[in-house]
């Protein structure tokens, strides 16, 4: 059974700083998604990573996938308050299996 772990579960960071969220999974998969959820809102798709070594970037967020290490990272560059949200990775088994989420809070 596929297990998906994210860490940290909660991240409080200062504006302008860099940080990385990690998504580890337990069995082979070569497709992974990152979603964002604002408080009280729905999930919004951020990135689709379709193969080993895939890297996607949008604005201050960059996601990568290492299928051999069973690891995806979501890197935040020069954080701003608008990035405050909960970020989920979802790994493909026969269905999507979601991590528990990382709640990111960016403060001045």
């Amino acid at each position: 059974e596929l297990k998906v772990e994210q860490n940290p579960l909660f991240l409080s960071m200062q504006e302008g700083k860099n940080y990385t969220i990690y998504c580890n999974y337990s069995t082979t998969s070569d497709r992974l998604y990152w979603y964002r959820q604002d408080p009280g809102k729905s999930l919004e798709s951020l990135f689709v990573l379709l193969s080993n070594g895939a890297v996607k970037q949008e604005g201050r967020l960059m996601a990568s996938l290492d299928t051999k290490a069973r690891l995806s990272t979501l890197h935040i560059t020069a954080a701003v308050h608008d990035l405050s949200a909960t970020y989920f990775c979802a790994v493909v088994s026969d269905k999507l299996i979601f991590g528990t989420g990382t709640r990111l809070q960016v403060f001045p």
């Binding site: 497709r31 998604y33 979603y35 809102k41 729905s42 999930l43 919004e44 798709s45 689709v48 989920f88 979802a90 493909v92 088994s93 026969d94 269905k95 999507l96 979601f98 991590g99 528990t100 989420g101």
Partner: protein
């Protein structure tokens, strides 16, 4: 507007009552999903459907019933609501012929069972 909608957005009910949550999508996506979101658990799959009249259990199906008579609708029924079913419920859909394509989520229904 095209998209995926859920109704009601908020619902308060009592233990033992039947509740139906509605989900409607206008994309003609083949796959539709129901998740529940609880603190500390992320999203857990309740049921999913590959097409009209085809449904299958997810991770936490007990206490729930689904149907899909039309491609665009995927209602979720709690036959006899329990307090443990208090949660936020999200419907999602995806296109294509496999269950793991990118999913698009509805706005959610916050259900409270007293």
């Amino acid at each position: 507007d095209a998209g995926i909608t859920q109704s009601p957005r908020y619902k308060i009910t009592e233990t033992g009552r039947q509740v139906t949550l509605m989900c409607h999508q206008t994309w003609s996506h083949s796959y539709m999903f129901w998740y529940r979101q609880d603190l500390g658990h992320g999203l857990r799959l309740i049921y999913y459907s590959a097409a009209a009249d085809i449904t299958d259990k997810g991770e936490v199906p007990d206490g729930y019933v689904v149907s899909r008579s039309k491609t665009e609708n995927f209602p979720l029924t709690l036959e006899s609501a329990t307090r443990s079913q208090t949660s936020v419920y999200f419907c999602a859909s995806s296109e294509g012929t496999v269950s793991y394509n990118e999913q698009f989520f509805g706005p959610g229904t916050r259900l409270t069972v007293l």
